[in-house]
Assembly symmetry: C2
Homo-oligomer: 297 residues x 2
């Protein structure tokens, strides 16, 4: 099975689990309909579901069945979707298009978009705290702690803050790397580490997934920066040239196109190499590294 | 010790614990400074700390020492503070003044205010997932589940969504009650139930705190609505007449001033009565019901 097949198979499962949560089918109280509708719009019917796939595949290395990683994967995707909704807001990146559709604040309104993001972020932790997510409360707690750190002020939200500060500033290469490690890297790394938590991985296995996640996060962001310069709006489902146009600090601008491409190739190779100890069972994760590095959308 | 003494004593403890977290002293990675500064501005140096006091006092009914409830109390206050920051945003209630100071989006900027709220919400769940918050992971999980439900789409965020929809609408009294139960009631009720979780309360004790929390939440919101009509901007540290001016649905408008006052008195009495089984040990919580109902700020 190729990574593309795998990703479509998993996408169906994740989509269904997210839909279960977002129709309120798994909660005790019905939420107000307008907010629920905006949250469904933000989280369903689109997206590569890369992070859930990484979490499910990382957990699979330790024999965890996809079914038993789906709730954690759905929680992680809620956090990713919340971050897109808030990042797209007029006060932030002011984006009109996401996954080929109007962004949430345009399809609804700004207040609803803020609340839909808040609601998705909170739902993620509700899911992780729910006993059916995992039978062992300390596993649920580790997942919540890891996700909160990856998403919070010293993770994704912190990275977004640095990114906003960086507009019209000339950042050093190392500052750009730190910014990207927080903004995009932390959550992708958590996807892999989350699989290790579900699989109760230890020692070298844990470290291998941590390393793989870090390299994959770097590759993902570098590919994103390259696509912003060379990509196609139709394929991407969002506007290109925005980051470079806004004077945002990207590694492509700092390193130049050729060096950026060479670094991306190096990251892809290192990510694949970091999985050596898992042998054939890491086949899909190796393909994920190639997919992430060479994607066109 | 009067409730006013108690609240000042607990405020010092909560303030210190929040400051510990918000200087990053308890986390593994240093957050970006600008975002951290906005989060400290939003969460430190003000506020009645009513919810932390309720949580600590509810837990104390079961012999839990304040020291052992402080992390949960700090997490709860982070959620409360995040909600104020987001509610004050221009796209939401567009408030300029909070606790007698410029709101976060005016003191910093709108993007930073959105991220500071996101960061505080995420930090709350980081705190609850941290082993030092409670030795038993299932207690930590119950706290996180309860807080997420109280704060999320079927709780506080849902209530704020209904509140925004309600502008320039004529709501029925029952719709206003539902709106307020979600928007303000859920988190105040969780403060009391959170104490029951920490105290491993069961049966009647749990139900008594659930009832007390519900009644107190109703009293709090009704007092708030009355203060919006009759209160003093200087004492309140925020503008008055905003809700009635914006055509917002309040119980005072729906019931009239006299009936609203009578209902508030009834709620105060019922809240106090709900604590009967705890005898003298619920002294402070009884005073809290009076404080909440008769406050001038």
């Amino acid at each position: 099975m190729t990574f593309a097949d795998k990703i479509s198979e998993t996408t169906v499962l994740v989509e269904q689990r997210l839909a279960d949560y977002l129709t309120g089918a798994r909660g005790p109280v019905a939420p107000p309909e307008k907010l629920a509708e905006a949250m469904r719009y933000a989280a369903l019917g689109g997206g590569k579901r890369l992070r859930p796939v990484l979490l499910i595949e990382s957990a699979a290395l330790f024999g965890v069945r996809a079914e038993n990683a789906l709730d954690a994967a759905a929680a992680l995707e809620c956090v990713h979707c919340y971050s897109l909704v808030h990042d797209d807001l007029p006060a932030m990146d002011d984006d009109a298009l996401r996954r080929g559709r109007p962004t949430v604040h345009l399809a609804f309104n700004e207040a609803t978009a803020i609340l839909a993001g808040d609601g998705l972020l909170t739902l993620a932790f509700e899911i992780l705290a729910t006993p059916q997510t995992h039978g062992d409360p300390s596993v649920r707690g580790e997942l919540a702690l890891g996700l909160a750190r990856a998403a919070g002020w010293a993770g994704m939200a912190g990275g977004q803050s640095l990114d906003l500060e960086a507009e019209d500033q000339q950042l050093e290469v190392n500052d750009i790397r730190r910014l990207q490690a927080l903004k995009t890297g932390a959550l992708i790394q958590f996807a892999c580490v989350g699989g290790a938590i579900l699989g109760r991985a230890e020692g070298e296995s844990w470290q291998a997934l941590e390393t793989y996640g870090r390299l994959l996060g770097q590759a993902f962001q570098l590919a994103d920066d390259l696509l912003d310069v060379t990509g196609d709006t139709d394929k991407l489902g969002k506007e290109t040239g925005k980051d470079s146009g806004a004077g945002k600090a990207t590694l492509v601008a700092a390193l130049g196109l050729d060096e950026a491409r060479a670094e991306l190739e190096r990251l892809e190779g290192e990510a694949i190499a970091s999985l050596e100890k898992f042998g054939d069972s890491a086949h899909t994760l190796r393909e994920a590294a190639t997919f992430v590095s060479r994607r066109e959308y």
